[in-house]
Symmetry: C2
Subunit: 150 residues, 2 copies
């Protein structure tokens, strides 16, 4: 678990490049969402609701897990989405504490457009990301200590 060798300048550069690529994607996504009239988190919530791989519709709690936020933050996010008529709440018939979430037609339409452009953008970035991930995955494995350039 402890670091196996000292980090070289090249390691920092690779990590920085990776983070840069991430931020470029996130910026693209943020701008795309905003062009569609919503905040990035709202877009991500729509996607999580639509793409939830289960028979039962997603609940507030599951949404929070998928977005890695606290349940009560998901509540607020859904409040905003419902106010814009992009999502509808409905009480779960089984457990009346739970709330089921479903996209409205309008929500579906916005998500479809955003998802198409995101798929293209990700396809565009894929080669670069794969390259960086491979470099990051190259473990030193051999005991030969850091012959780093720093």
């Amino acid at each position: 678990m402890q670091p196996k060798r000292k980090l070289t300048l090249a390691d920092y550069q690779t990590l920085a490049e990776f983070r840069y690529a991430l931020r470029v994607f996130l910026r693209f996504s943020e701008d795309a969402a905003r062009s569609a009239g919503l905040a990035s988190q709202q877009h991500q919530a729509l996607l999580a609701i639509k793409g939830f791989a289960a028979m039962e519709p997603i609940t507030i709690g599951h949404l929070a897990e998928r977005l890695q936020i606290r349940p009560h933050s998901a509540v607020e996010l859904v409040d905003r989405l419902e106010a814009r008529s992009l999502v509808r709440r409905s009480p779960s018939p089984r457990d009346h504490r739970q709330v089921h979430l479903k996209l409205t037609i309008e929500g579906e339409e916005i998500l479809e457009r955003l998802s198409a452009s995101h798929r293209e953008q990700l396809a565009r970035m894929e080669p670069q990301w794969k390259r960086m991930l491979e470099i990051l995955h190259q473990e030193p494995a051999l005991g030969a200590g850091g012959a780093g350039q720093e």
Copy 2:
């Protein structure tokens, strides 16, 4: 440039899975930074400053580009880093408008620890990410229209 085929439910699920993986990484990173006593953006700024692949030290403007934020947001970020003695400003000798940024010893130490754990985490996630990227990259290529499952 326009969407080549209709999105299937599986497409949404893949996109949602990818986004979920992203958020898990970002949550890890956020928590790691916070455990080290800094905000995520501060960590990312340290990495961008250290990993800037150039002979000259990075400027505020370049930092903004690497973090995909506005220059004046980078100013504020550097203000906070300098207040914590993790970064030092110094005027560029060539162009007195520019400010050069450099990590302090303390900044270097914190970044080194965070970078080591990030490298491990990324190595851990690499197979999953690669798999998802490959799925996302599978273009329909052939004119055969969407035989999607939805």
